[in-house]
């Protein structure tokens, strides 16, 4: 059932930029450390300390799936993920070109496209990320915690404003 499936959530502001997610991803999938083989990548703006984990969003209406000329890309609804069938893939890289997140990669060593497969339901990036800059949660619950955080920010701002008014 789609509603029960978990989804990867990126909490970008938490990321410490350590890139352990990249390493464990490559080791899990290919038995090697090589960020080029990783399905997740930390984009960095080092001069301001900004780090953003970039990974496949497993889109409902996935552009990679739509653009694939040989229908090698499909949705696996059991795990709510988008998967590549390598027996069908012809390596044309149309999916790489069209992905709005840059999350479809081309591995130049094996000459094939690679993307996140959620480690079949046990994403290693999440397992190893202590601070949970990437997390794996029920899809239905993603916005709930964000809503509460935003509500808290709004009310504390309001409280401050009231206090300031009272002081005046």
């Amino acid at each position: 059932m789609e509603a029960m499936a978990k989804t990867l959530v990126v909490n970008q502001e938490r990321c410490t930029g350590c890139r352990l997610c990249e390493s464990v991803c490559a080791v899990k999938h290919d038995g090697v450390v090589n960020p080029m083989r990783a399905r997740i990548k930390i984009e960095k703006w080092e001069h301001e300390g900004l780090y953003v984990p970039m990974i496949c969003q497993h889109c409902q209406d996935a552009p990679c799936m739509n653009v694939c000329p040989v229908k090698a890309i499909s949705r696996d609804e059991a795990l709510a993920r988008v998967m590549v069938d390598y027996n069908t893939c012809i390596g044309c890289r149309s999916c790489v070109a069209v992905c709005p997140f840059g999350a479809m990669n081309f591995n130049t060593i094996d000459k094939k496209v690679i993307k996140c497969d959620l480690c079949d339901g046990e994403p290693q990036c999440v397992r190893f990320c202590d601070i949970k800059a990437v997390d794996y949660v029920d899809a239905a619950k993603v916005s709930i915690s964000k809503k509460r955080d935003a509500a808290l920010r709004m009310t504390s701002a309001q409280k401050k404003a009231t206090e300031l008014e009272a002081e005046m």
């Binding site: 410490t16 930029g17 352990l20 090589n34 960095k44």
Partner: protein
């Protein structure tokens, strides 16, 4: 496999570059990182050369576990003959350079000669090229990196770079990477500058094959859980290393006003909790950043807040990372400053110039004490009011030293011994140094074990070579025994009392091998028996090495290799004139440790000095553990036992 990475010999004079594999038997003897660097240095360096001349040798090496499935293998070690001490120069940094160099195909780079013009080294997937550095010569540490990235159109290039201080041959200039990661001791940045080598730029996408991927992955998870469940690392992950300064200062272990006191008073503004507030106010709630593959994330981000001082020096809003406790040392207690503005501004300046915060802070603090006693006057300082606590003077002196401006700026840029010779007037007796390198800000008068550590450290006064920091935890004897009797047995007595002289020599000897081991692996010291008594060491490394590289090493073999590599460092020093009691080249403490009692702090600190005779006793014991004679020279049997009888053996 992970160990197929090569060593490159780069002759900057001729432009000739030679790449060689590292045979497994050489690996087993010298492991990698700092140990292998010591082997390369001992083999390539000729004794007695000018450290800032073309004959010096610079070795940049990364740990044998760099970019493997092992936690925090981010460390790069840089070695050469030190322009500061004229003995072994060796310094270590975290960040992301080590992993990138491994991915680019290399573990060690040996630089010979001197480039004709400013140059940098480009290392990419097994290829090495010497390139023109005209566009970045003179640029700050960070601007150099951002410029080359922009030129190459690749944001993932990583660097080992020298800043303007290195170009200007300040004798304690850093090699750096990223915003603030510094190989910051013994002046290896000045050696880069002297060779016209602005930086090494690395980028790699070569596979590092893990020998047993599933086991490596699972063991790494266990390893990380062990690290992050330790309270000390949790605190480190929220407050960073400033928490160490906070704890040490309240106890009375931070040298203040150079060495007049041992505690900085009224220092709330620079306590770790306040620095954390500044960091969070300027960079958000999640304010910590990490080195490669490390879950401790001990580095804070900050932007310099508005203040009259920051405004005056044009530094408001500048982004930086840290400050580490060593900056609290160099720019707060040592110079008697209690304000965050001085600390954060000074930390930023040294990061941009690429200069050792400890050494420059110590030099300024020493000059301040001389000024306090009237040995230096305002005529000597060209108008700078060098009184303790004057933050503006600290920032001004950092500029002058790094740009080598004014008589005093030039003198202090030369490091302790040369500066004292230049200033004269009996100024040397106020220096706090060992082997010509200033001590960090810690005061070891109340801790004989820690005092022995700084005295016998191969690279001069330093805590990162053999400090038995857990001596301060008063662990039960049986716990001490368990830690310090593995992987080799120790039958002697150990004391849980940090004031005692008993057993400390063994603890220092054990830590010396532990720290060499971790430096060979390329793992951060916060991941071993340094601040946390329960953290991994030899036994765990043996497993990590095996799972990742396939190499079979026993914990005892790693211990012996560490002993061997430490001895090689000692052999370099012996070749460069080590004499046990030489005040400039010996295993001795500054006289003030013996003569001036500590004035402040907890009851166990007040009045403490290091007893000269007992110190000599500890040192003699330490030499015995190392297999040296009473003069600190290894016996022929020890050389044979460690398999060093044929050095230099020129196998690489």
């Amino acid at each position: 496999m992970a160990l197929n990475r090569k060593v490159a010999i780069i002759n900057l004079t001729t432009g000739q570059i030679e790449s060689k594999p590292i045979p497994i038997d050489v690996r087993k003897k010298f492991l990698g990182g700092r140990g292998m660097n010591a082997y390369l240095l001992y083999n390539y360096l000729k004794p007695g050369v000018d450290p800032l001349g073309p004959d010096n040798v610079l070795v940049i090496g990364i740990g044998m576990l760099a970019a493997t499935m092992a936690s925090a293998t981010s460390r790069t070690d840089v070695m050469g003959k030190s322009p500061l001490t004229d003995m072994i120069g060796s310094t270590n940094m975290g960040g992301f350079f080590a992993a990138e160099l491994a991915l680019a195909g290399y573990h060690h780079l040996v630089f010979l000669g001197k480039a004709e013009k400013p140059s940098y080294l480009w290392v990419h997937n097994g290829e090495i090229e010497i390139r023109d550095a005209a566009s970045v010569w003179g640029k700050s540490v960070t601007d150099t990196q951002w410029t080359i990235r922009k030129e190459m159109g690749d944001e993932d290039i990583k660097f080992a770079v020298c800043g303007p201080a290195g170009e200007n041959l300040v004798r304690y200039a850093n090699v750096m990477t990223g915003i603030k990661n510094s190989a910051g001791r013994t002046g290896m940045g000045a050696v880069m500058g002297s060779k016209n080598l602005k930086c090494v730029a690395a980028r790699g996408t070569l596979d590092i094959k893990i020998a047993h991927p599933t086991q490596a992955l699972e063991y790494n998870k266990r390893f990380i859980d062990l690290i992050t469940s330790a309270k000390v690392n949790q605190t480190m992950g929220t407050l960073g290393t400033p928490f160490i300064w906070g704890a040490t200062n309240s106890w009375g272990g931070c040298r203040t006003n150079n060495f007049q006191y041992n505690q900085l008073r009224y220092a709330d503004d620079i306590e770790p909790e306040h620095l954390d507030e500044i960091s969070k106010e300027t960079c958000g709630e999640y304010n910590m950043t990490a080195c490669f593959n490390c879950q401790v994330h001990c580095r804070a981000k900050y932007k310099i807040p508005q203040s009259p001082l920051a405004e005056k020096f044009g530094l408001v809003g500048k982004y930086d990372e840290g400050p580490e406790y060593t900056s609290q040392g160099g720019f707060c207690c040592e110079v008697g400053c209690t304000d965050a503005a001085t600390l954060l501004c000074a930390n930023h300046l040294v990061d941009q110039y690429g200069v050792d915060n400890l050494e420059i802070g110590s030099m300024i603090a020493w000059a301040m004490e001389l000024y306090d006693y009237g040995i230096l006057t305002s005529k000597d300082t060209d108008g700078v009011d060098l009184r303790f606590g004057n933050g503006e003077a600290v920032l001004e002196m950092i500029h002058r030293i790094c740009q080598k401006k004014t008589w005093l700026g030039q003198a202090l840029a030369e490091g302790p011994i040369r500066a004292a010779q230049k200033i004269g007037r009996d100024s040397e007796k106020y220096l706090i140094h060992v082997k010509g390198m200033s001590n960090l800000h810690s005061d070891e008068r109340a801790t004989p074990g820690l005092a022995l550590n700084i005295a016998v450290s191969s690279r001069g006064s330093d805590h990162l070579r053999s400090r038995p920091a857990i001596d301060l935890y008063h662990l039960p004897k049986d716990v001490m025994k368990r830690i310090y009797s593995s992987p080799v047995p120790f039958e002697g007595e150990l004391s849980s009392d940090h004031r005692s002289y008993e057993g400390k020599a063994w603890q220092v000897f054990w830590q010396e091998n532990c720290f060499m081991g971790v430096d060979c692996m390329g793992i951060c010291k916060y991941h071993t028996t340094f601040l946390g008594a329960t953290l991994p060491n030899f036994e765990d490394w043996a497993r990590v090495v095996n799972y990742n590289t396939g190499l079979e090493l026993t914990p005892t073999e790693i211990w012996t290799a560490a002993e061997r590599c430490n001895m090689l460092e000692k052999l370099v020093n012996i070749r460069e004139g080590f004499k046990r009691d030489d005040p400039h080249k010996g295993d001795v403490l500054a006289d003030r440790y013996h003569n001036e009692p500590a004035k402040r702090g907890a009851p166990d600190v007040i009045g403490a000095t290091i007893d000269r005779e007992k110190f000599k006793g500890m040192r003699a014991e330490f030499y015995k553990h190392k297999g040296c004679d009473e003069n600190g020279i290894p016996t022929p049997e020890t050389i044979k036992r460690l398999g060093l009888e044929n050095e230099p053996s020129h196998l690489l």
